[in-house]
Amino acid sequence: MSAPDTIDLMPLEQYEAEQARRASPFPRLWEVLDTVKDPEIPVLSIWELGILRGVEVAGDTVIVTITPTYSGCPAMDAVAEDIAAAMQAAGYHDCRINTRWAPAWSTSWMSAAGREKLRTYGIAPPGEARLHCPHCQSTNVELVSEFGSTACKALYQCRACSEPFDRFKNL
C-alpha cells in the first residue's frame, strides 16, 4: 500500500473563526467589514488578515471586535477609522471598536485566500514550510533583516532573481 497523500488542513483557530462567522445573525455586517482593508497591505481585508474577531449589535450600536497583530501596530487607528467609515456608508451610524488582546493574534489566523493574495502582492506569506521568493518562486533566498518595512514583516533577498522581498513573519 502506498503512503496516503497529505492533505493540508485548515488551522483549527481559522476553522473556528469561519464557523462563528457562518453562525452569526449579522451576515450583512460581515459583508460591510469585508470591504475594510489593511491600510499597509491593501490587498488583504481585515477578515483575511485574521484581526477581525467578531461583530455584534447592542441596541443601535454595532460593536466590532478586533485583535491587533502587534501591540504597537500604527495601522490600528486607521483600521478603526476605516471600520467606522464603512459602517457609516452602509447606514450604521453608531459603531464602537472593541480591542481584544487575548488570545493573542497569530499568523495561523490568516486565511488561505489571504496568504495567496499576499504572495501575488509580492509578500511571502507566513507559515510556509519552505520559504519561496514571491517573484520567481526560488527557494534560494537569504535573510537581510529580521525587521522589514513594518513590525509584521522581515526583509529577504532572492539570490536567484536578486529581488528584495518582505516576508510576513510567523507569530
Partner: protein, 255 residues
C-alpha cells in the same frame, strides 16, 4: 501639572510595567534615522513600536482600574520624573550602537522570562498583555542575541565597545530583580511576578552568551536603584522633556 495619585496596588503595578516599556521604547525610537544602516533603522524603530504598544496596553488597563476617565496619554504626558517608576536601566541614554544592543540583550533575556511568568497571573488583563508581549520579546531576543555575538566576534573596536557597554550597564541590572513591599504583596495574591526568582537563570544565560562573545564579565562592585521610588538618574528629565514637549506647550492637544 496635576499629579495622578495612585493608591490601588494593581494600578501601580501596571503603571510601573508601562513606564519600563515607554521609557525603553522612547530610547529605542531615538535611533529612527540615526541607526548605522537602513535595515537596523527599521529594526530598532519596530522594536520601539512594540515597546510603546506594550506601554499603551499597561496604561490603558491602569486607567480602567481607576474608572475616572484617566487615559494612557494622561500617564505618559502628565507625570513628572518623580512620578515615573521605571527601572533605571531603561532610561540610560542610547549611547553608541553597542550600548543600545547590550542593554537590549540584557532586558530581552529578562523580559522573556518575566512575561512568561506574568502570563500565569491571576489578573486576566495583565496575563493577556503578557501573552501578547512575550511573542514580541522572543523575536527581539533572537536579534539582540545575534548582535552580541557579532559585536563580540567582530573587530577589536566592536568588542571594546561591547565590553565598555557591559561594564557601564552591569550595576543597573540588580534592580531588575529587586522586589519591594508592593510587589511582594501582589505576588502573594498571585498577581505579580517574583523577579528575584528569575535572577539565577538570567545570570547563567547572560554570562554564557557574553563570555562566548568574548566579553570579560565585570565584578559586581557597585549597583544603583531607585526607579520604583521615582528617584532617577539625571537622564529621565531630559527624556520626558522631549517626550512630553507637545503636551506641555499645548495642553490637551489632540490630532
Amino acid at each position: 501639572m496635576t499629579r495622578i495619585a495612585i493608591e490601588n496596588p494593581v494600578e501601580m503595578y501596571a503603571v510601573r510595567l508601562g513606564d519600563d516599556a515607554l521609557v525603553l521604547g522612547h530610547r529605542l525610537s531615538e535611533w529612527s534615522s540615526n541607526a548605522p544602516f537602513l535595515e537596523e533603522d527599521l529594526a530598532l524603530s519596530n522594536v520601539a513600536l512594540d515597546y510603546i504598544g506594550r506601554a499603551r496596553m499597561f496604561y490603558t488597563y491602569a486607567g480602567q482600574l481607576r474608572n475616572d476617565g484617566t487615559t494612557e496619554d494622561d500617564y505618559a504626558y502628565l507625570r513628572d520624573c518623580r512620578d515615573y517608576y521605571n527601572l533605571l536601566i531603561h532610561e540610560l541614554p542610547r549611547g553608541d550602537f553597542a550600548f543600545s544592543m547590550a542593554r537590549q540583550y540584557l532586558v530581552d533575556v529578562f523580559n522573556l522570562a518575566y512575561l512568561a511568568e506574568l502570563q500565569q497571573s491571576r489578573d486576566e488583563s495583565l496575563a493577556a498583555i503578557a501573552g501578547k508581549a512575550v511573542k514580541e520579546s522572543t523575536y527581539h531576543l533572537r536579534r539582540s542575541n545575534d548582535w552580541i555575538m557579532r559585536l563580540g566576534q567582530g573587530t577589536r573596536e566592536s568588542l571594546r565597545r561591547l565590553q565598555d557597554a557591559v561594564v557601564e550597564l552591569w550595576g543597573f541590572t540588580p534592580e531588575l530583580f529587586a522586589m519591594d513591599a508592593l510587589e511582594i504583596d501582589l505576588l502573594a495574591q498571585g498577581i505579580a511576578v517574583d523577579r528575584a526568582a528569575l535572577r539565577d537563570s538570567w545570570d547563567r544565560q547572560v554570562r554564557a552568551t557574553l563570555e562566548a562573545a568574548g566579553v570579560t564579565m565585570p565584578e559586581p562592585d557597585w549597583q544603583v536603584d531607585g526607579g520604583r521610588q521615582g528617584v532617577h538618574t539625571e537622564h529621565l528629565g531630559h527624556l520626558l522633556g522631549e517626550l512630553q514637549f507637545v503636551q506641555r506647550a499645548y495642553p490637551g492637544l489632540e490630532w
